[in-house]
């Protein structure tokens, strides 16, 4: 739940219950006040009845008075309790419905005889008055609350605007891109503080990242010369005609190790280069031709593993940097060949802006996120663990969507080319 709605919900609950309680209390007090008024009036009527009986010596007729109904009942003697107020209802013959009323039951000596007198007055008018009063008071209160709520909503929305902008800017911030984090202009102290903190963090992250990148680049470069020395020394050693079998095997292992180190270095440098957007020149590339070219290029590697390559390629071109696309295709091939089982198959499909490399493998489904991480590889793999990371980075830079799936014992790497927005995962 949003902070805003959470706040609003609590506020609404409190206001509503408060309003009900206050309304109830108000109604009660008003009712009591009115009852008291009626009771006074009834009492006055009783006095009048008494006076009337005293003066005229006859009882007043039951409806002899305005608005009140008087009822008499002869009793044997006076009890202790001689005045009793209560609520009741009566049938109003004029209006033809029940009305609530207030009555006073009292005992009087009229003409020397004890009587029980009930005087009843309709509360209808009073109730109407209460309704009006409550409406007059409550309606403006409700309207006021509504207005307050609306103003609150608009105000908060306005005040949180910098926060939203801040969020958008943070999301837009990409460590790989040249663009720095864009600060938000605001007068609100808290947001300004947040803004400045994020700005500081982003600058720090950026400079750290740059440093690491520079370090990687320099370290890789510096390793190239010693590697060249090792390689040349190995080549020199190879020329000596005195090598026996054991020494040859050692030499072979050394060659393999240097070749792996070389590849690792080159991959790291390539990643840095892709990160730095150093491969910018774009051109129209016929993907169909390129894939076919690569199939014949890797033919020996494919034959050695006795792999079946099937293609289903419709003509398709992309506008991109040739080196990057070649790296992309090479890595896909490399992956499909390396991680295949002997006699397995590779299926290459281009359709609907998608380039799909599917291959059989002795492995079951791989972790769809982890496989694109740098240096992630299974124990059986002899690679550098950078191939798929490079693939991901190329796609990221070109705004292609790269995804992996495992279907019907085929590992599938899908590149979607037509996605100029930032849907990259």
């Amino acid at each position: 739940m949003k902070l805003f709605s959470s706040y609003n919900r609590i506020l609404a609950i409190i206001t509503f219950t408060g309003l009900i309680i206050i309304g109830f209390l108000f109604y009660k007090t008003l009712g009591q006040y009115i009852n008291k008024q009626i009771d006074d009036h009834l009492y006055e009527e009783v006095l009048e009845v008494q006076d009337f009986a005293h003066v005229k010596n006859i009882l007043p007729s039951p409806d002899g008075f305005d608005d009140v109904i008087v009822d008499y009942k002869k009793i044997h003697g006076l009890s202790d309790k001689n005045r009793f107020f209560a609520d009741t209802t009566f049938y109003n013959p004029k209006k033809k419905h029940d009305e609530s009323a207030r009555y006073l039951k009292t005992e009087l000596i009229l003409n020397g005889q004890p009587y029980e007198v009930i005087i009843m007055a309709s509360k209808f008018e009073w109730q109407e008055q209460i309704k009006s009063i409550i409406l007059i008071i409550l309606l403006p209160v409700i309207v006021l609350l509504l207005i307050l709520w609306l103003v609150n909503r608009i105000l908060i929305k306005r005040m949180w605007q910098p926060f939203r902008q801040l969020l958008i800017n943070i999301k837009a911030f990409n460590i790989n891109q040249e663009k720095v984090f864009e600060p938000v202009q605001t007068n609100i102290e808290e947001f300004r503080e947040l803004n400045n903190t994020v700005l500081e963090v982003s600058l720090k992250v950026k400079s750290d990242y740059k440093e690491i990148k520079l370090f990687t680049e320099n370290a890789s470069h510096e390793m190239m010369t010693p590697l060249a020395v090792i390689n040349s020394k190995l080549d020199t050693m190879l020329q000596s005609n005195t090598l026996d079998k054991e020494e040859s095997e050692i030499l072979d292992d050394l060659y393999k190790a240097t070749s792996k180190l070389t590849k690792l270095n080159q991959s790291l440098l390539l990643l840095v280069k892709i990160d730095n957007n150093q491969l910018q020149d774009k051109e129209e590339i016929d993907l169909k031709a390129l894939v076919n070219e690569k199939i014949s290029y890797f033919q020996e590697l494919i034959q050695k593993r006795e792999l079946q390559v099937k293609t289903n390629i419709s003509p398709f071109s992309v506008f991109a940097n040739r080196s990057l696309i070649e790296i992309l295709i090479n890595n896909l091939f490399s992956n499909a060949i390396r991680h295949n089982n002997d006699g397995g198959s590779i299926l290459i499909t281009i359709t609907n802006d998608n380039l799909i490399f599917s291959n059989t493998s002795s492995h079951t489904a791989l972790h769809p996120q982890k496989i694109f991480e740098r240096f992630y590889k299974d124990n059986a793999s002899d690679g550098t663990g950078l191939g798929l990371a490079i693939l991901k980075q190329v796609c990221l830079k070109q705004n292609y969507v790269l995804s992996y799936s495992y279907e019907k014992e085929y590992h599938q790497f899908i590149i979607n080319f037509k996605s100029s927005d930032n849907k990259i995962r």
């Binding site: 190879l238 095997e249 050695k304």
Partner: protein, 225 residues
């Protein structure tokens, strides 16, 4: 042929020197920009092997200087820098080729030969090895005057061995020469064996002696001794 090696790393320079000094090749070397500058001013070379990062200067400056004094020496840049821009800059300044460190000496020699061939014979050069004749322009191979059909990769492989004749070529070097950097996707370099077997068969079938000698599984040597 006469080469100049401009390289500050002594052990690398020595290895290159040792590898190239065969069959009458002469190597001169320079370990600094200044030395390189002096040698370039005085002597002529068939090919200059130029490292870009020198302790007292930039190798590319030597290229510029070479162009200024109108010398037509072949130049092979050997550098650890493998950015595209560097390559383009080097090549546009007049370098003939660009080899990224680390490299195999056999590859270096093949590239140097190719540069010299282009420079001196307009690329039109015919290599002879006993009864084998390789025409690098027409990409044709003949044994005893009769053409032998080789695929492009087979031709490249044979030429590579002939250029580096009497040298042991590691499998790794041969694989990288033919398949480039992506060759590592095979878990071993053994698949070069099939290729060499094919070349060998095609040559011997046309009456050629077998000059390929296997060296304990590390590599091969093309020699008639």
């Amino acid at each position: 042929m006469k080469f100049l090696i401009v390289e500050d790393e002594e052990s690398l320079r020595n290895s290159i020197n040792q590898y190239l000094t065969v069959e009458g090749n002469i190597c001169d070397h320079a370990s600094t920009y200044e030395q390189g500058y002096q040698k370039l001013s005085i002597y002529d070379y068939d090919c200059i092997l130029l490292d870009l990062t020198l302790p007292d200067g930039e190798g590319l400056q030597l290229l510029k200087y070479l162009k200024k004094i109108n010398k037509a020496d072949g130049v092979l840049i050997i550098s650890a820098r493998n950015s595209l821009d560097q390559k383009i800059e080097g090549l546009s300044l007049g370098a003939d080729d660009y080899l990224i460190k680390p490299f195999h000496l056999s590859e270096l020699y093949a590239r140097v030969q190719s540069i010299v061939r282009r420079r001196h014979f307009n690329g039109n050069s015919i290599f002879h090895f006993n009864e084998i004749e390789i025409d690098t322009t027409a990409k044709e191979t003949k044994v005893n005057g009769k053409p032998v059909y080789l695929t492009r990769k087979e031709f490249e492989l044979l030429l590579y061995f002939v250029v580096n004749k009497n040298k042991v070529i590691s499998k790794a070097a041969a694989v990288v020469h033919i398949w480039g950097d992506d060759a590592d996707m095979a878990d071993s370099f053994d698949f070069i064996y099939t290729h060499i077997k094919n070349v060998r068969k095609k040559l011997t079938d046309s009456g050629c002696k077998d000059y390929f000698h296997s060296v304990y599984g590390v590599g091969y040597k093309f020699t008639d001794s």
